[in-house]
Point group: C2
Chain length 403, copies 2
């Protein structure tokens, strides 16, 4: 083994990691369990736990008077998300609803101003594909699931294009600026696997949605967010005409008359507690900075790729992610014909938590604020040991229906 | 004053109130403040506070493995809501999204099977009116805001009708069974001001939505719910085709193929913490029973009406709610030309928290589990004293824009 693949190499990386100290600011219930989930749910920070408790007490004490502050929360936390995480301007990001509902809103809004087809790539995240298919059907438009990103861009001319900035399986990171410049389609970027993992500059982007429960650590089912570039806001409207988008909301007036700003894409009463959890989490991202966070993500995934190359390829694994760290998010896909059993064996027998994605992907999410280089080394080491011993073969075969 | 309008009368009602003890199960931060908000945000129960803390710890400890239980939560808590609160069958209620988004989903679904106009009454809650207007526009249908409930029923023939079971201003309680039987429109009942306040039997109803942050005490921005009668479920589909509605969700398959049950009306990732708060709150409603809760609601509002008749009518107040308790929810509207200033003065100077609704309504919400008869007596007594002294006249006039 080359020296840099020894555990001491990972330990050395941890010693010089400027973000190493952030790990202590999260709840780590069982330090022997390596949490490399990729990334369906981010860890709970200690500050977020306190903030949630305070938010609950605030509900109990202030009751309806709390709304004097809460009413601004979706836009106020949206502004912080814009500045700290996604590279947008004040008034361009709103915390609201789920990714699914937000994408639905923006896809309809985009279809109002582009008459062409509604397009994504066939590998995009399922809810994106399902939502777009439904919007296309409602609007009587062609819906295209292109076989590749390039084909999707080509097919979307004059229409609406939805792409994930970081692919949920491969972790491939697209060139937002180049793709946006190359098409006259209105592009909706799904930032779910990108927000909090890579540096994002939304300035060239027109529309985006994203989630906060993965790398942004806002909790299970925490709200999504949406971005609409300021110059586009007056031209677009949400198909879901809710009272939180209404100008002079408590006049409760006769007709729907949406506000001018980003809140015109709000719908119903926003989820206050979860939005306050996100607000607390953003303190950590502000403090650490997305530049260093993304750099650590590249270093963590680099280490994982090098260890996988050295240790796992003999056992039938194939790298399912880009080799170039600049073209990758903060997770790594390892493909293996028996990936489902390997994943289950890792969780049940080796104390490592990755996740499985159809059809053959073991996905390792390496959240920069909460993952150490030795976590990566130990996780890959346990994986190597497990497949060396063939332990996964002792598990029942992959069931037809996988959860 | 007649003897039953003396404070001793209210004290006697409290002594024999079988639900009096539930008040101690809620957080009451300042016992001198009378919380008669009507009802924009219900109180926090002590059990809900504990349950939320446990849920946050569960997130921290179980991380993604928590989803093994959480995945079923929206339907499981929906089943409890069905049985305990809204009189529906298992598999007919789902906790999801906001009232606004749920109404949007069901209005589109209903428009798929009824070709006529989309109708509500002009007095319905603003978000309902705005959503329905938007759905009608999308579907190329006539949208009608009828001047009365009766006119709305007439206008909706062959179309889609949305009505609030309890009116958010007057508190008027409609006859769900009679109205449903009288029309061939598909009726969507908005239960926002009814759920947890009155007994509901949804058996005759086809569709309904509702909220959980008012009488159901699930917290600020807690999710809404939706109801689709079982026989209708296979014929209806949500316009928002999200992955939580997908059959075999984690197969992440090619095309949208919704499940057969109520979860076909789910969209994105559900808000877990707030849904667990609702689950905890439902324990109290199950324990107390909606029959006794609704009976106490009638008795509380009866007392408020009697006191208002005796004390407030000389000062220009007019009852804005039905006199017959059987036709009323658990809140009372008192109309007064200067209601805005009276409301502000009550909050700022008298330690009473009602709320104001346009144009001239002081609304008193008397949540049965958390309001005593002496609260009502004291609140009305303070109101009487305030208007007797003309204290509200010392406040600045109502601003053009009211929040």
């Amino acid at each position: 083994m080359t020296p840099d693949l020894e555990r001491a190499g990972a330990e050395a990386l941890d010693r010089t990691d400027p973000l190493a100290r952030y790990r202590d600011r999260f709840v780590v219930d069982d330090p022997t369990r390596l949490y490399l989930d990729g990334n369906s749910l981010g860890r709970l920070s200690i500050a977020t736990r306190s903030r949630l408790a305070a938010a609950v007490d605030e509900w109990g004490a202030r009751l309806v008077e709390g709304w004097h502050d809460w009413i601004e929360l979706p836009a106020r936390v949206g502004d912080r998300l814009a500045a700290i995480v996604v590279g947008a301007q004040p008034g361009e990001v709103l915390v609201a609803d789920s990714v699914t509902v937000n994408l639905f809103k923006l896809a309809h809004a985009a279809a109002d101003v582009r008459s062409g087809p509604i397009v994504t790539d066939a590998g995009n995240f399922p809810t994106d594909r399902y939502v777009l298919d439904g919007v296309a059907r409602q609007r009587g438009r062609a819906y295209v699931e292109a076989p590749s990103i390039g084909d999707a861009v080509d097919a979307a001319a004059g229409g609406v294009l939805c792409l994930s900035l970081v692919d949920y399986r491969s972790g491939a990171l697209l060139d937002l600026a180049a793709i946006t410049a190359a098409t006259d389609a209105l592009v909706i970027w799904d930032l779910s696997h990108a927000a909090g993992a890579v540096e994002i500059d939304l300035a060239p982007a027109e529309l985006a949605v994203g989630c906060t429960y993965k790398y942004l650590n806002a909790g299970p089912g925490a709200p999504g967010f949406l971005y609409v570039r300021r110059d586009l806001q007056p031209r677009l409207r949400s198909p879901i005409q809710g009272w939180f988008a209404q100008r002079d909301q408590f006049a409760m007036g006769a007709g729907f008359d949406p506000v001018d700003g980003i809140e015109r894409f709000a719908a119903g009463t926003p989820p206050i507690l979860a939005t306050l959890a996100l607000d607390a989490s953003l303190d950590l991202f502000e403090d650490a900075g997305m530049g260093p966070i993304a750099a650590k993500g590249r270093a963590l995934t680099d280490l994982a790729v090098r260890l996988a190359d050295a240790w796992l390829m003999p056992f039938g694994f194939v790298l399912g992610s880009p080799r170039d760290a600049e073209r990758r998010g903060s997770h790594v896909a390892l493909r293996h014909p028996d990936a489902w059993r390997v994943t289950r064996a890792l969780i049940e027998r080796a104390g490592v938590v990755p996740d499985f994605r159809q059809p053959d992907i073991l996905r390792l999410g390496l959240a920069p604020l909460t993952t150490s280089f030795t976590d990566v080394w130990d996780g890959l080491d346990r994986l190597r040991g497990l497949v060396e011993r063939g332990e996964h073969l002792e598990l029942p075969p992959k069931p037809t229906r996988v959860t």
